[in-house]
Symmetry: C2
Subunit: 295 residues, 2 copies
């Protein structure tokens, strides 16, 4: 058991929690809490740390053949990013996706097995609309909670990949990780050094890009997202830059009542992603109904 | 100018920022920042406080006949709830709505004047579907950011009122206020001592209640929300209590792909509110098209 905060491993953990540069140099990130720890894919797990109290109270956790290091409660608190630590954290290998990986081509058993929408009238659908590319592209998003929430909703809505401009908040930031509620392990994502070039690449691959814009002329629900589609979401206060919005095929807006000037970025992204999800489910349903498979 | 933190007004301000009890006793709350200060309705404003620096840099702000007290920068920082204060905060009178006020009967000029959806093909619609009751009812919601974001989205989506169980986080909490982005001034809301009784009252008034439930049998977009409707949203980790869900007319779920177990509460609420908004806009549009007013 490690009982000193001057221990080298402990010092490194604190650096990993605080500094993106340190995470990137070591090519790892840190996840905290029981749910996040249990969901780490074996292939990505580097090391698990638990507090003394957690170790005593959760013997079942240690049935598995995972390497575990025990820290005294006081030391664990010093490395934790939360106010009331659950007593377990893992060091996890970073992911490295290419832009092609955002298009839904990755075999994803977990996704297929758990997708309710893949079952219509008892018939399991695979591929087809359900895995048509559906991308969310984020420019200069700054709030960690917003990014984590978007990644979490993205998995729920069936997004195939998240593209981020280099100046977005770090997805491996502990606050982002926490808000993803585990979606970080499953959602392909990629930071683009040249964001606009990456968007043009997506267009070349047939993805139709929709810019969420306060001055968009088309209500978001009047466009169709059943084909390969991507949503562009901008910075929390400035929105999308003009140059980026100009690359989009269409500018859409979310109609707003009252005196509301804009929606929270994660809310706007979620409304759009679930509109695409709704259309794709309905298109799938209609298709099957048309073919007489489902009454 | 007040230069001491032991000044009585300063001490009171700090109490108002920190304690719900103090806010309720004095029947006021505190808003911070230029946007929030500018939007305070005259009838609700009690007192404005600015920092010395703000006072010097924003002479235009003081053209209005608002009573202003200047605090030294150091004193202002001690009363501010934010890390980088903008230098202006207001004490504002609390709102007192009855449950009937949540049904969209309040004359709301601001709402009508600013509602894009009230204009279809150049024809201004008032009342009708646009102001059919549309309520969001929150049970034991705990996260200040979630509550503020829900109130903000609610105004945008055309919700007529927000019902809260007594054990929800305080809407006058500074973090909630900040996340509302001003919607606090315009969205009718009411805390119910007996939440379930309040829900039954809404049902008696013809409001159809939909419980957002992970085990709901109906995908949310297969129900109709054009009539008087209400959405029930539960606590962030536990969801709705069984007794509350049992009061609802239907249990709906938001379909989720992948291994996502649930969505963030504010995201789930927003997806539902905007589905109702979408249906009402489309129903309005079709109605007018049918009548031959809009081609």
């Amino acid at each position: 058991m490690i009982t000193s905060t001057s221990n080298l491993q402990v010092k490194q953990l604190i650096q990993l929690q605080k500094k993106a540069k340190e995470r990137n140099t070591q090519d790892v990130f840190v996840v905290e809490g029981l749910k996040m720890a249990l969901e780490v894919p074996d292939s990505q797990l580097v090391q698990t740390y638990v507090s003394e109290r957690f170790y005593e109270k959760n013997p079942a956790f240690f049935d598995e053949s995972r390497p575990v290091t025990v820290l005294s409660d006081r030391v664990f608190e010093s490395v934790s990013d939360t106010r009331t630590p659950q007593g377990v954290l893992c060091v996890v290998r970073q992911y490295h996706y290419e832009i092609e990986d955002l298009l839904g081509n990755i075999p994803c058993e977990a996704w297929d097995a758990h997708t309710p929408q893949s079952k219509i009238g008892g018939i399991i659908r695979r591929g087809a609309n359900a895995r048509e590319p559906l991308i969310i592209a984020l420019e200069n998003l700054q709030d960690p909670g917003n990014l984590g929430t978007i990644v979490r909703t993205a998995e729920g809505a069936g997004i195939t990949g998240v593209l981020l401009s280099r100046d977005c908040v770090d997805l491996y930031n502990p606050k982002v990780i926490r808000s993803t509620m585990g979606a970080i392990y499953r959602m392909p994502f990629s930071y683009a050094d040249d964001f606009r070039q990456a968007l043009r690449t997506l267009k070349c691959k047939g993805v139709r890009l929709f810019a969420a814009h306060l001055e968009g002329s088309i209500p978001y629900d009047e466009e169709t997202y059943c084909g390969p589609s991507g949503f562009l979401i901008g910075n929390e206060s400035q929105g999308l830059t003009g140059g980026t919005a100009a690359i989009a095929d269409a500018r859409i807006r979310i109609p707003m009542c009252g005196q509301v000037e804009s929606l929270n970025a994660a809310v706007a992204a979620s409304v759009l992603m679930y509109e695409a999800n709704r259309q794709r489910r309905n298109a799938g349903g209609k298709k099957f109904r048309k073919e007489g498979i489902v009454s």
